[in-house]
């Protein structure tokens, strides 16, 4: 009898338990339509979520917001039971709205944000986290933390916020630089030209030669200045934008700037979810949808 029970439970365990034990750094750019959601899985099994998408206009029919539709399914498929850190780069709807679903369904250790009060959605997200007893902490340039042997450094917002530009919320986005052995990843939120200039001014050589760049502001031409692209010189770049979005993201100019320095560009609107994996020396990119060389180069880029 016990033999039978044993067999039953082993088979169930085999079916239910996911494959565990990965020793690589994985950066997943979740396709949330027009918005941003990046999941970073560290070699030591910790998980950080940077933004969670949202409908840009803020309107939503409950249950079809990107948090429910895209982010939670990815976390579940990866058998992620809790997030160690959640980062809200800035309070725009297309970055924070999906956090409501995350806050409700996944236990979160700590929340970092840029300290810029914004939309009602962003306030309700922070309230939800606070209600769950999660520490919500505003961060700025200079904070550094080690996650296993991976270093995560906050590069922005600056100590004295950038004001007087078109969109101070965007300019003061939280920017993270993740360094793992030979590889470095720059996650830029929605910083625009002024924020990029500030980044280059304050950072040392660490911003030269980035392995993976999450292109700022969905590839809008208000960001990714030629100087910034030349200096960071990314090997691979991810653009997170909606299919046929009404903003014309990513801009053809921006695509050309990256092409000029030989960056391999991947777009969520063409390739679906993007995933970059590295053991610190070699790297690999996988895409959810088949994604030909044309699509990578952005040959069908929308004119802005």
């Amino acid at each position: 009898m016990f033999r039978i029970i044993f067999v039953c439970f082993v088979t169930t365990a085999l079916a239910v338990l996911p494959g565990c034990g990965h020793r690589a750094l994985t950066v997943t750019c979740i396709d949330v339509g027009q918005g941003d959601a990046v999941l970073v899985s560290f070699p030591n099994g910790k998980h950080w979520l940077i933004d969670a998408g949202g409908n840009p206009a803020g309107d939503t029919e409950a249950g079809i917001d990107p948090g429910h539709r895209n982010v939670l399914p990815v976390l579940r498929a990866k058998a992620i039971q809790s997030l160690d850190v959640v980062v809200m780069t800035h309070p725009d709807e297309d970055h924070v709205q999906g956090m409501l679903a995350v806050a409700r369904h996944i236990p979160v250790g700590r929340v970092y944000w840029n300290g810029f009060e914004g939309s009602r959605t962003e306030q309700s997200v922070r309230a939800k986290f606070a209600q769950k007893g999660t520490t919500v902490e505003a961060v700025s340039v200079g904070s550094r933390t080690l996650v296993g042997d991976v270093e995560v450094a906050v590069m922005s917002p600056p100590l004295s916020p950038i004001m007087g530009t078109r969109s101070p919320e965007n300019e003061n986005s939280v920017v993270l630089l993740i360094t793992y052995r030979d590889k470095s990843i720059l996650l830029t939120g929605d910083v625009e030209a002024e924020g990029e200039r500030e980044l280059l001014r304050s950072a040392q050589a660490e911003l030269n030669e980035i392995s993976l760049l999450k292109v700022a502001h969905h590839g809008s031409d208000s960001s990714s200045t030629p100087e910034f692209v030349r200096r960071t010189h990314p090997g691979i770049a991810f653009v997170s934008c909606g299919k046929r979005n009404r903003y014309g993201h990513p801009s053809l100019d921006v695509i050309k700037r990256f092409e000029r320095v030989g960056t391999q560009l991947y777009r969520t609107d063409q390739c679906g979810m993007l995933e970059w994996t590295s053991d610190g020396h070699s790297e690999a990119v996988t895409t959810m949808l088949p994604c030909n060389e044309n699509a990578l180069r952005g040959a069908q880029g929308v004119e802005n």
Binding site: M1, T11, T12, E61, R69, P73, R76, K78, M273, M288
Partner: protein
């Protein structure tokens, strides 16, 4: 020797058929149904289980060979179609969704919410049609596959233009659609705005107006089945009517119940779960009319036959798989429940009776959760750990909501009594909402699973079902409960015998 012999013969026959015959799909379907029918004929024997497994394998093979499963992508999509509305119309906040059947295939339509349309109307739809899209992230619902399994060739854009050409008179379809609308309207007029959607959800499985937060709470507690018409609904309603009509004699009561169960099955939309429940009830009532006692596994096989004949793709349908597995769980849990039933009858203390009843509910709920766990983990990608506990109060309350709801809809107009019934229903629905929301907030009530291997799921499910069958036999001395039907632990009414 007999099971091994049957299995070998079955597999040989199957491979022969697949390799040689011209219309392999049809042959396989007929074989599947044949094997399941053999399994459904008494007397019971161990080879029946093997027949069920063979039947399931054949079913999966058949679906793989179905012409639609292998159909290529159409070269050109039309910009205008004419056809009949062939699904219930789902009303969202800003849109209507339904399926139109044409001579060239089915089309999923989305349009503005003002259209006055109903089931079976002939319509002309002008839209920019496109092929169903594949999922854009891992773990997402695979709409493309769903469409393929439901024979949907294309989907309309949100801005499609629908013109009503002709209102059709299919008496049965129209009647059922009208009954559904009538019940829905009654719920909304008799109840306050916050509980009316839940009443529609439980009575008719219409969840369009149900707050998303509450739907999530049911999902997190593993009790979302109370919102879909299932065997529970049909069994409870029919058992109640049967009990009320018992004065009219055994035959009369069974006859009325028979008619009612078929009607309820149709009214609920005719999905695999209601179809299963109706087939099983019809068989059980027929057996009762003939003074025979059917066995649960045979009934289940019969139901599988009915479902396969209606639509072979049901094998791949997550809802159908879960529904059948849940019934398997209830069948294998029955001996354990019986064990407790004996103790409950014998005990004299009320406290002990209540405690044992709760424990019995928990054991049954736990076994069902465990048996369905691999499939749930695979299809939903998350699993409710609190489900065995949550199902006891939620199942109990939703069953009462169903009974009182049925009473309220029918006799809710009687001056004083009606008012009392509606108030009572509102109270039950409020408590249901409260309990579901409360349990959903328990930390780690719901965990992510990330199961991606369907083969492991099949092995685990078969292993669990046979494991519990063996365990039940060892512990309780019998494979099945003394009751010749699957066991409903929280049923307020006596099960049909």
């Amino acid at each position: 020797m007999r099971p091994l012999f049957a299995a070998t013969l079955g597999m040989l026959f199957a491979s022969f058929a697949v390799a040689t015959l011209p219309n392999r799909f049809l042959v396989l379907i007929l074989m599947t149904v044949g094997v399941l029918l053999v399994a459904a004929i008494p007397p019971a024997g161990s080879y029946k289980r093997i027949a069920i497994v063979i039947g399931a394998i054949l079913g999966v093979m058949a679906v793989g060979l179905h012409p639609l499963a292998n159909a290529g992508i159409p070269d050109t999509l039309p910009s205008e179609i004419i056809g009949d509305v062939c699904s219930p119309i789902r009303r969202g906040q800003t849109s209507l969704r339904f399926i139109v059947c044409t001579s060239t295939g089915k089309y999923a339509i989305r349009t503005k919410a003002e259209q006055p349309l109903s089931y079976l109307d002939r319509v002309r739809v002008t839209s920019e049609f496109s092929l169903p899209e594949p999922p854009r992230n891992i773990g997402e619902f695979n709409y493309q596959q769903w469409c393929r399994f439901h024979h949907i060739v294309a989907v309309s854009s949100a801005a499609s233009n629908v013109v009503l050409l002709e209102t059709r008179t299919n008496i049965v379809g129209r009647f059922i659609s009208d009954v559904r609308t009538w019940i829905d309207t009654r719920c909304h007029s008799g109840l306050p705005a916050d509980t009316a959607p839940l009443a529609s959800g439980i009575l008719l499985s219409i969840t369009d107006d149900l707050p998303f937060e509450l739907q999530e709470s049911f999902g997190r507690t593993g009790t979302v089945h109370v919102l879909s018409t299932s065997g529970m609904h049909i069994s409870v309603l029919v058992a109640t009517v049967g009990t009320i009509l018992i004065w009219s004699g055994r035959t009369g009561s069974a006859g009325v119940s028979l008619g009612l169960s078929i009607l309820v099955g149709y009214a609920s939309g005719g999905g695999p779960a209601p179809l299963r429940a109706v087939t099983s009830l019809v068989a059980r009532l027929m057996a009762r009319l003939l003074s025979r006692s059917p066995e649960p596994w045979h009934l289940l096989c019969l139901c599988a036959c009915a479902a396969m004949l209606r639509d072979p793709f049901v094998v791949m349908d997550a809802g159908a798989q879960l529904s059948f597995l849940a019934v398997c769980g209830l069948i294998v849990a029955a001996p354990f429940a019986d064990l407790f039933g004996e103790r409950i009858r014998q005990s004299t203390s009320v406290v002990l009776k209540v405690a044992l009843t709760l424990l019995q509910g928990f054991i049954v709920s736990f076994i069902v959760t465990l048996v369905t766990a691999p499939a749930v983990a695979f299809h939903m990608q998350h699993l409710s750990l609190i489900s065995p506990v949550a199902n006891i109060p939620v199942g109990f309350l939703s069953e009462w909501a169903l009974l009182i709801g049925a009473a309220a809809v029918t006799i809710g107009d009687i001056p004083f009594v009606g008012k009392v019934i509606w108030t009572l229903l509102n109270g039950v629905l409020q408590s249901l909402t409260f309990v579901a929301n409360l349990l959903a907030e328990v930390p780690y009530a719901d965990v992510a699973t990330g199961v991606a291997n369907p083969h492991a799921v099949v092995v685990a499910s078969v292993g669990l079902v046979s494991g519990f069958t063996q365990l039940g036999r060892k512990l309780c001395g019998s494979t099945f409960a003394s009751q010749p039907q699957y066991y409903i632990p929280w049923s307020p009414s006596k099960p049909l015998t």
